[in-house]
Every structure is written in C-alpha cells, then in structure tokens.
C-alpha cells in the first residue's frame, strides 16, 4: 500500500464524530434440517459479500471445488460427520449493515442450541428444501423441521421470520414448485399466527438471490435475501412499560464502608422495561422500600436517562437496602377506584409489577433427564436465584402444530406447559409483555446444567 492511498483513505471518518442513529447490527439465526443447505447458504452470504479472507477460503477447497459448507462446520466432529453440532457465530458487514449470524444446528437433538441462538436473535431465516417437498401438489405438506423451527422462533418472539426456499434450481419445474411452496408457507404461517417478513426463492449453491439477484427467476422480482436482511428492524426494547430494573452489581460507596450517610452506592444493571430518569419514584423488590432516583449513569458512567435494553447505574435519594438479585421497580400507582371495603376512603396502591410465587409457563426442555413433577431446580430470573418446584406438567406441545397433548413429563427437546412453584415470589410478567421479566432458566441442582428455557405465560 502506498502512503498516498492511505492518506486518501483515511479522509473517511474514523473518528469520534460518527454518532449517527444507524440501525444496529442485525443478529439472525439460520435454521433448517440437516442437508437443507444451511451451511452452504451462510458460506454464500459470506463469500458473495466478500467477507471471507483468502486463507479461510483456501481451507475449504475439496478436489479443486469450493465447499462453502466447510466454512462454518468448524469442529472436527462436525467435519467427520458432516453435520453441525453447536451454534457458530459469524460476522460480516455490507455497505448497509453489520451482521451476526447464529448458525443453529438442524438436528432434532440439538433443539436446545437453536433455542439458545434464537433467544438473542432479531430475525430467523428458515431454510426450506424444495427437493424434499411434494412440490407438484398445491396443498403440499411442509417438513416437520420447517414448522418446528418457525414455531420455535415465533414462541421465542424472534422479531422477524424470513423463509428462504432453497434448491429450486434442482427441481424440474421451479416456477410451479415456487408457487406451491410459497402458498404452503403462507397458509402455514397464517394458521400459526406468524408474521413473515419475506419469502425468497434462492439457490445457495449457485448464489441466486442470496447476495446477487437472479432476475425474474421463478417469476420472482423481489429483493434478494441479503437485501431483506439489510432492511429488517432490530428487536424493539420494552420501553413503553413501567420501569423494571434487575440489580446486577452493587458498587460500594467510595468513602469508608461504615460511613453510609456519605455513601452514594450505585446499583448497576440493564433496564428490563421502561426507562429511568432522575426523579423517577421507585419501589425496591423484595423489601418494598420506596425511594426516588437521584441520578442515572449510562453503561460507561456518563449521567443520562436510560431506556430499556441498556445498562444503567442508579443512585437513589436515600439509603435503602439493595443487593444483587433485587429489583428496582416503578413505584406503585394509586388505584383509581377506592378500595372495596367498608372503610375504604384510602385508595390502595397497585404495584407496577406484582410478584408471584406460582407461574404458568412454557418450557423448552434441554436436559437429558426428563422434566417430571416434584423435581426441584434452581431458577434464575433477572439476577435472582430462587428454588423452583415443578408442580405439574400440564400439557406437551406438539412441536409440529403447537397443539396441546396430554403429558406427565417433558423429554429432552420437548416443549410444554408447566406449573412452577417458586420458593420466593418474583416480579415475573408474561414473556409476551416483557421479555426480561418473562424469561427464566432452570438449572439442575446436582449437575448444574442449564436444563430448561422458561417463558412465563
């Protein structure tokens, strides 16, 4: 490289002024069955967007041909078996956006990895293999894996679902196949209540409509898969709710620890719902003490108002007992109607986030040992660990239809409705309302394995 080039190039803004409101990196997962061409699709996205470096590309040559799947199947066991056994995270950028791909495995026994990847994803690309479908039939049946992955993404509130219909280049009549498969996907999504952002016909192998358009193929004139991804929204934070703030870490006062009157302890955490500003009246959970927010710091200690989704440091106007695992919640609001008792001229105050000990939940079970009634697990909610007893397995969900079926236990990779009884109440809310308040994990008390992903109903 010459110096002139460098000077010309460094005229581009790399400094501190680039603080525009750009859409953030999109985290998306790719799902599909084994052999649907998922790894090839990712390889195609990386190669055609020029994100793959020469030494990595040189490592995936087989008999003179580039095998794109080898770019992502990194573990030796995966290369031996030709399958993906765990989520791999890949990074690439285009002119429009940065991307993080969670490459989730398709094998049924690795559903837990798909749930893992989906829990932090903004979008899910569900790969549909045209060659495996009865594409001549206008009423064709989708593969169970397509339904399973879409429903899982839907259940976990992945914000956007995109279908990529792959291998249409390998069927006899791609136009007809595309028409019928697209129709089947539409009616399935409609029945399941899934909002689909886009359905794109692609050939991962040939690179059609992945990064580069293959104009008019199958009669499709819409955006390529990459263009779809570039335009997808990030998952919105739960800002339009009362404040909920799980305390992650308590920063001791800068003065001596015995001198609490001077102590301005900072309560650090990530705002789970609403936003926090000086003057916000709050109530501490579980102690119930009331206080007012005196000052708010952002994640890097600059004074600010902080919305849901980002870290904050909260300083209260008075000394209250707060430790890791507690919650700082919006103060109770006075109920509009008077309390319904005979002496009721004092209005009762309703907590912004009422606490519960009994939870009706949907659990994705990940442990090798089945979930059965009576077992006790550790549950993590926010930063609070509590014991949780399985009161009852209510239903098992048919993974292909989400229909409820009678069950007494949840086997590995099953999903079902379960009643939990907690040792102490937590301010849990429905996952559909507030993600952070509505999600927990269950941890086996003996093996310490993460055994279940819990969504509060």
């Amino acid at each position: 490289m010459t110096t002139t080039n460098l000077i010309a190039a460094s005229a581009i803004n790399t400094g501190t002024s680039g603080q525009n409101d750009h859409i953030s990196a999109l985290k998306f997962i790719t799902c599909g069955s084994v052999d649907d061409g998922k790894s090839t699709l990712i390889g195609r996205l990386l190669v055609d967007s020029k994100a793959v470096l020469q030494d990595h590309l040189a490592g995936v040559q087989r008999q003179g041909e580039t095998d794109l799947a080898l770019l992502t199947d990194g573990l030796s066991a995966e290369r031996e078996q030709g399958i993906t056994i765990d989520v791999a995270y890949r990074y690439f950028a285009t002119e429009e956006r940065k991307f993080i791909i969670g490459d989730a495995p398709g094998h049924e026994q690795y559903t837990r990895n798909m749930v893992t990847a989906a829990s932090s994803a903004d979008a899910a690309v569900v790969l549909v293999d045209a060659t495996k479908l009865d594409w001549k039939n206008p009423q064709l049946a989708l593969l169970p894996q397509t339904r399973r992955h879409s429903l899982l993404a839907h259940l976990l509130r992945v914000h956007s679902v995109v279908f990529a219909v792959n291998k249409l280049d390998a069927v006899e009549d791609p136009v007809l196949a595309w028409k019928h498969i697209q129709g089947a996907l539409q009616s399935f999504a409609q029945a399941a209540g899934i909002t689909v952002r886009a359905t794109v016909p692609v050939s991962a192998l040939k690179g059609w409509n992945v990064v580069d358009a293959h104009a008019g193929w199958c009669g499709y004139e819409g955006p390529t898969l990459l263009q779809v991804l570039e335009a997808l929204p990030n998952t919105p934070a739960d800002t339009a709710l009362p404040l909920a703030f799980p305390v992650q870490w308590v920063e001791k006062s800068s003065s001596s620890s015995s001198d609490t009157s001077q102590g301005r302890r900072v309560f650090w955490g990530r705002v789970a719902a609403g936003n926090v500003a000086p003057g916000t009246p709050v109530q501490i959970f579980p102690s119930g003490q009331l206080a007012t927010v005196a000052q708010v710091l952002d994640h890097a200690r600059r004074p600010k108002d902080v919305p849901a989704g980002t870290s904050a440091g909260i300083i209260l106007d008075r000394e209250v007992d707060v430790s890791r695992g507690d919650w700082i919640l919006a103060a109770p609001t006075a109920a509009a109607a008077p309390a319904d008792d005979d002496f009721g001229d004092t209005p009762t105050a309703a907590p912004a986030w009422p606490a519960n000990r009994e939870l009706r939940t949907t659990i994705a079970w990940m442990d090798d040992e089945p979930l059965v009634a009576g077992r006790v697990y550790w549950a993590l909610h926010g930063h609070r660990w509590v014991k949780a007893k399985v009161k009852a397995v209510v239903h098992k969900l048919n993974i292909n239809t989400l229909a409820e079926e009678a069950a007494t236990q949840l086997d590995p990779n099953a999903i079902g409705h379960v009643d939990l009884l907690l040792q102490e109440a937590v301010p849990a809310a429905a996952f559909g309302t507030a993600r952070v308040l509505g999600s927990l994990i269950l941890v086996d008390t003996a093996s310490h394995k993460t055994a279940g992903a819990v969504l509060v109903n």
Binding site: M1, T2, T3, N5, L6, A9, S10, I12, N13, T14, G15, G18, Q19, H22, S24, L53, Q54, D55, H56, G59, G74, L75, S76, A77, I85, D86, V87, A88, Y89, R90, Y91, A93, T94, E95, E96, R112, N113, V115, T116, S119, S120, Q248, V250, S254, S255, R270, H299, S311, R324, W378, L380, R435, S439, L440, I441, V443, H448, K449, T450, A453
Partner: protein, 322 residues
C-alpha cells in the same frame, strides 16, 4: 499489510465499507462487554482478568475502567490481572503490561512457564520448541494456586472456527477442559454461573468484536498500545509468505535472506510463533483502513502454530488452553 493487496482492491473495499467506518456500533459492543465484566465481578468469588499487554486485553481493560472507574475516582477493577509468561514475549509488550497495570493501580500476577519447566510439569520435546502451547499447564497451576473461579479472556469469535462455537461464559471442568458437545445453553443474558468445586469458567466479554471493531475502538478511545503494533523497521526473513522476525530465539536458518522491512504486528504472542506483516501504518486510523483491505485473516497472516491442523485450536482448548 500483505504485499498482495493492490490499491484497486483497497479502493473498492474502502468505498464499500465507508459506511461502516461510522463507529456507532461500537457503543453496543462496549455496552455488552461492560455488562459481562460487571456480571463476573458480581457472580464469582475469585475472578481474574487475563492481561497480556496485547491489543485485545487492552480493549478489555479500557472497558473495565469504564465499568468500575479508576482508583483515582474511588473505584478500580475489582479483580487482579493475570499473565502467563512464556519467557518468550516481546519486551515492548511486557514492559507495556507492567506500565499499564501500575498506572491503573491494579494487582498484576505473573506466572512463568519457565517455573513450570523447573518444576518438571512442563517438558519440552526439544529446547527450541514453542512454549506457547505449554501455557495451559502454567495457567492451570495458577488457577489451582489462587483458586480462581472465573478467568476473563480477550478471545474473539472471529479469530478462529473453534472460538466461533464457544459460549461467552464457557464452563471448564476440573482439568480446565472445554467440552464442545456439553456446552451449557446460553439463553438471553441469563448466565448460569453455577460451579462444582474445582471447576471454573472462562469468560469472553469481547466475543462479538471483530479485528476491525477492535481497531476502530482503539482509534475512537485513543487507547495506547505497545509500539510494535505500529510500523517499525525490523529484520525479517520471508518464509513462504510469512515474515519471521529475526531474534535471538528465532535466528535465520541456512539459506535465509535477512531483510529489513517496514512491519507491524497484527497480533502479539510468543516470539517463536508470531509473525509481523508488512505495513507503514503508524496510527490506529491507518490500521483501520488496512484492516478493511486485508485479504488474509489475523491468525492466517501471523500465527505459525495454528497452521499445523485445522482442528489444532479445538484440540488445545479441550486440553485447557485459552
């Protein structure tokens, strides 16, 4: 910079990517890193931060300063720094490590591979063998000595295939081993930090950063680095495209032509297995531009020891390597 990079490619890449020289995405990465650094402080009893004086650990240290404040402001990083020294590190880097630790008022623990060799727990196949892989033994000895329950490391998922698969909170058994098939699912940001006695976690707060992100952050935050990250003249021999530095530990072989070139290090580690790249970049901003145009990965351009087998990192991690 690799000499194969031609200016047309550079121009195309910088035009394509100019959009991304906007660095607002760094705020999200920084926020995630700080959240994880605080989680370790709160969830573990005896954590430590692996600090080599290299660019990734200096980025982590900067985030730690923001997370916890400095001694001067009444705060400070609530865990010690740990360095496993092979004895084959570049003096510019170890000097910088000591300077930064002192500047921060942080406790710095250094444990030496040479001490393990003296104890007999590390045995080299031959005296010239790279000590890089043997760091695992000394690291595990240090973990036992201090009973560390969490070790924060600066590994990034974009570095290597096996790293791309590892969780942010990576559980290790009592032998320090990583079990890729038995990784704990990592759901939302609910980190399961429960341990059995003798086990520990490796924690990677900058998992989601890329080499480019690191350099953009160094540029934005004006983070000081050891001098060898920037262009300097150095005696090297060109061995199959890799520039090997000529040092006491790596003398020229018969038939080698020793040349003086303008080079910088994209990564620094053990002298015996770290190669510089040709470059005239003297600032982080210039390195950002070079990184955009790079056509060879950081490890591909610089590390000898990863080339032996495609699965070498996976194998080493299973053996307790970072």
């Amino acid at each position: 910079m690799n000499s194969r990079t031609d200016s047309a490619l550079l121009e195309k890449k910088t035009n394509d990517m100019s959009h991304h020289l906007n660095n607002s995405h760094l705020d999200a990465l920084e926020e995630e890193t700080i959240f994880i650094l605080r989680e370790v402080a709160a969830a573990f009893e005896r954590p430590t931060l692996l600090f080599s004086g290299g660019k990734d650990s200096l980025v982590m240290l900067k985030c730690a300063e923001k997370a916890f404040g400095t001694k001067a402001s009444g705060g400070g990083i609530p865990y010690p720094l740990l360095m496993i020294d092979t004895g084959h590190n570049f003096p510019e880097v170890t000097d910088f490590r000591d300077f930064r630790a002192k500047e921060l008022g942080a406790e710095l623990i250094v444990r030496n591979v040479e001490d393990s060799m003296a104890r007999g727990t590390v045995r080299l196949a031959h005296p010239g063998e790279s000590r890089n892989v043997h760091q695992s033994v000394t690291l595990l000895e240090a973990i036992e000595e201090f009973r560390f329950d969490a070790l924060i490391g600066g590994a990034r998922r974009d570095e290597e295939k096996a790293r791309a698969k590892e969780r942010i909170f990576s559980h290790r058994d009592s032998f320090g081993q990583w079990q890729p098939k038995a990784q704990r699912p990592e759901l939302w940001t609910l980190f399961n930090t429960r341990l059995q006695p003798g086990e520990h976690f490796r924690v990677f707060p900058i998992s989601n950063w890329t080499e480019l992100d690191v350099w953009q952050y160094i540029d934005r935050e004006q983070i000081a680095l050891p001098s060898i990250y920037y262009t300097h003249k150095r005696q090297v021999v060109d061995r199959k495209g890799l520039l090997m530095p000529v040092t006491e530990l790596t003398p020229p072989r018969d038939g080698d032509t020793v040349e003086t070139r303008d080079v910088r290090f994209r990564t620094v580690g053990d002298i015996t297995c770290t190669a510089p790249v040709e470059s005239t970049a003297a600032t982080a901003a210039e390195i950002v531009i070079e990184t955009l145009a790079a056509d060879v990965s950081e490890r591909g351009a610089t590390r000898m020891d990863d080339k032996t087998s495609d699965a070498s990192m996976e194998k080493r991690k299973k053996d307790g390597y970072f």
